[in-house]
């Protein structure tokens, strides 16, 4: 009996040892991802999430027919093949909630770093927590310029920011006056020089308005109206009336999705068509905008960093996009493609750091270079530095695009065609913005 008992105990010990060491799961490296997954930005959050998950899957598993080195990695080679494990958190656009979740990820989940947070205001509070704990954070989607001028040593941003994007709008307009756009003759400056801006009132819109206002005189334009509005607002009639009264040639929006749609509907009901309608990314770039408005979206320009049509000139983008479409039923947008690139950057940084030690990651991030051909974004690459005064941790090889919603014969839902930079235009610009029928 005793012998039986002893054998049993030894067997049990062996089992515990074996399961504890020998059969241990392959090493993994945890990255915390904080996005707005519910609430008003839930649709955006879903796409952000799919973008990030896709990138992680490509890193973790051998993926055929993708011409990015990481597709052949099967885990992160620099970390002995460790797989990326993503832990998602939902900040619901609340900076305080984001900060608390960041603490949870850092101290309780022991993540090696953070990716997030879409809303610039939440990115601010979360990056403050990261800075306090000395934990690296990569930001893929927040475009508020001051994020990278705070002197933070643990914060890197892959996306270009609103200053770069706003320059693009004016360069595009100047290009139009010089007749640089395919199929559109020289546009007289007097048709375009009056600009009205409408921005939603949170950090995203407010900063956007400020930058556009500051740059206008440098390019010879005049801001005749600048208004802020609540993006959950059920009615924008008075805002549109104020814009129309200022008689602008160009209307620049800085909206989220539902308000962008409401703006266009109000434009239609008031039969108001300025020469150019341009939106600053977020609201006007997402598929939901075109699906909501159908043909009424045709002619709207949007600042973006990505259009699915890029696939025609960028094979890598085409390959990854086909995987993304399988998962989400949609093409990549600037939002989801940048989220993908954010996690890709994390993978490269970890691979170069060869360690999960924060200091090593910091060094690797500061020295990072990803060539443009390995990205799905139409950028020259990713390399961190600074262009604004006192800036650091900003990708200096990123750039923006301007695209236009156009509809193919037979389609009901418009798609995006690149129109700027002029040399990458994938279609003829529709100018002026069509009159309402």
């Amino acid at each position: 009996m005793k012998i039986f008992l002893r054998t049993f105990i030894v067997a049990l010990l062996l089992f515990v040892l074996a399961t504890g060491t020998g059969f241990a799961a392959p090493k993994e490296v945890k990255i915390g991802v904080i996005f707005p997954l519910s609430g008003g930005l839930a649709t955006t959050g879903k796409l952000l999430r799919i973008g990030v998950e896709l990138a992680a899957e490509i890193v973790n598993n051998k993926t055929e027919n993708i011409d990015i080195p990481m597709a052949k990695w099967e885990g992160i080679p620099g970390l002995g093949g460790a797989k990326i494990k993503l832990i998602f958190m939902d900040h619901r656009s609340d900076p305080a909630r984001g900060a608390d979740l960041a603490k949870r990820l850092i101290k309780d989940e022991k993540v090696v770093g953070i990716l997030g947070c879409y809303n610039s205001s939440v990115t601010k509070s979360v990056s403050t927590v990261c800075e306090r704990y000395g934990v690296p954070m990569i930001n893929s989607n927040s475009t508020s310029p001051p994020l990278t001028t705070r002197g933070y040593k643990w914060f890197w941003r892959t996306t270009p920011h609103n200053v770069t994007f706003s320059h693009d709008l004016y360069k595009f307009l100047i290009g139009l006056t010089k007749g640089k756009s395919k199929g559109v003759g020289k546009v007289p400056m007097k048709d375009l020089e009056r600009i009205a801006i409408a921005g939603e009132e949170t950090e995203f819109g407010a900063t956007g308005i400020k930058v556009l206002e500051e740059l206008a005189p440098k390019y010879g334009f005049k801001v005749v109206k600048a208004i802020k509005y609540r993006h959950q607002s059920p009615d924008l009639t008075s805002e549109v009336q104020a814009i129309r009264a200022s008689n602008p040639g160009v209307v620049a929006f800085i909206p989220y999705v539902s308000d962008a749609i409401l703006f266009m509907r109000t434009f239609k009901s008031m039969k108001f068509s300025p020469k150019i309608v341009w939106g600053q990314d977020a609201g006007t770039v997402q598929p939901g905008f075109a699906e909501g408005l159908k043909k009424d979206a045709v002619g709207v320009l949007t600042r973006t960093v990505f259009v699915p049509k890029i696939a025609e000139v960028k094979p890598v983008a085409k390959q990854v996009n086909s995987l993304f479409k399988k998962r989400s039923g949609e093409d990549f947008s600037g939002t989801s493609a940048r989220a993908f690139t954010g996690l890709q950057t994390w993978a490269y940084v970890l691979n170069n750091a060869k360690s999960t030690d924060p200091k090593a990651i910091q060094k690797a991030a500061n020295a990072l270079y990803i060539p443009g051909k390995e990205l799905i974004m139409p950028w020259k690459g990713i390399k961190f530095g600074g262009e604004q005064k006192g800036e650091m941790g900003q990708n200096i090889l990123g750039s923006g695009m301007i695209a236009q919603w156009q509809v193919s014969p037979g389609d009901t839902v418009p798609h995006l065609e690149a129109v700027y930079p002029f040399e990458y235009a994938t279609a003829k610009l529709i100018y002026p913005f069509p009159k309402w029928k």
């Binding site: 939902d90 305080a96 900060a99």
Partner: protein, 336 residues
């Protein structure tokens, strides 16, 4: 001198509560004292800090909203005023937290007198709506005021940790005990308040304003004073918020949602009772944060946390308008 001694005695004297409640609060308080040593999860600590903060807000609201029966829904503006004061003074003049906090609280109280004076000409729903309106206007002003960062908000400068003067620490434990101290002071103050002259006056006002006035109570002045006290409470919380999160903007410290949350927690716990706001915060804050972080990030369950959260609020509101404490008292009355 005698008056102060008496007040302190009143503040420390909980003998009019039943024994079970006294034992309950002592156990709960000991738990709060040792909490950071028992629970090492930093998310749990962050949630507890949030609980203490909202308990403080709720206790403040309870003076005017609970004892006074005036539904004030604009408390976020006072949170904002002191948070902005602390942030601006630190950014512009490098003034330490311990100097800027009292100034922030003072400014909030001053503003509450300026707002309270005209506002208390209104009664009932009109008063509630007016408090919302004033708060929204102030938020819009701050949102468009470039000097205070406008909608971009304010990021507080790093001073290196640990720094007691500027309240910057790496570990949340310091912030936790800071809040616990103010929570304790708040609790003692409220214990005194409910037995004070103003406390009785307010209850009389709540029961029947005309009768109260006929007894010689200056109804409007009593309300204004209580409103100012409530503002001081939330202003302390606001100052803390600024140094704790090191980033403020109008949507985090002046938003209507915050005003409603403050009132909601006190009402749900049980207005006009000492324990109500504490119970409300102790239930709603962890519920919201834990549900949000467990379910909120999970695929396929999106929004479920919000549904559960709102169902609980609706259930309590439907079952017992006096809140959770009301349910407890009902059960007790049935037994005894």
């Amino acid at each position: 001198m005698e008056g102060i001694k008496g007040a302190i005695k009143d503040a420390l004297d909980f003998s009019d509560f039943p024994k079970s409640e006294r034992i309950g609060i002592i156990i709960f308080y000991i738990y709060l004292l040792i909490f950071p040593w028992v629970v090492s999860s930093s998310f749990a600590r962050a949630v507890m800090i949030q609980f203490l903060l909202f308990a403080l807000y709720g206790m403040g609201w309870n003076t005017i909203g609970g004892y006074g029966g005036q539904v004030a829904l604009g408390k976020a503006q006072y949170v904002g005023i002191s948070a902005y004061t602390v942030a601006m003074m630190m950014i512009l003049f490098n003034i330490p937290f311990w100097v800027s906090m009292p100034i922030g609280v003072f400014l909030a109280v001053l503003w509450s007198f300026m707002i309270g004076y005209p506002l208390f000409r209104l009664k009932g729903h009109y008063f509630a709506i007016a408090t919302i309106a004033v708060s929204l206007v102030l938020q819009d002003i701050f949102r468009n005021w470039e000097f205070v960062g406008g909608e971009r908000g304010l990021s507080l400068p790093f001073k290196g940790t640990p720094n007691f003067l500027y309240m910057q620490f790496k570990s949340d434990v310091y912030y936790y005990y800071f809040m616990l101290i103010f929570f304790t002071l708040g609790l003692f103050y409220m214990n005194w308040f409910r037995k004070s002259r103003l406390g009785y006056q307010l209850r009389a006002v709540k029961a029947n304003e005309d009768v109260a006035a006929s007894l010689g109570i200056n109804v409007r002045w009593a309300k204004i004073k209580a409103y100012a006290i409530a503002s001081a409470f939330v202003a302390v919380g606001g100052a803390f918020y600024a140094v704790y999160h090191m980033y403020i903007d109008t949507s985090s410290v002046m938003h209507l949602e915050l005003s409603i949350l403050i009132a909601l927690m006190a009402m749900l716990g049980g207005a006009a009772s000492l324990w109500g706001p504490i119970i409300g915060a102790a239930i709603l804050v962890p519920l919201d944060r834990y549900l949000g972080s467990w379910i909120g990030g999970a695929k396929g369950l999106l929004g479920l946390d919000l549904i559960i959260y709102s169902i609980i609020i609706m259930l309590v509101a439907a079952l017992e308008p006096r809140g959770i404490w009301g349910i407890v008292e009902k059960v007790r009355a049935k037994r005894g």
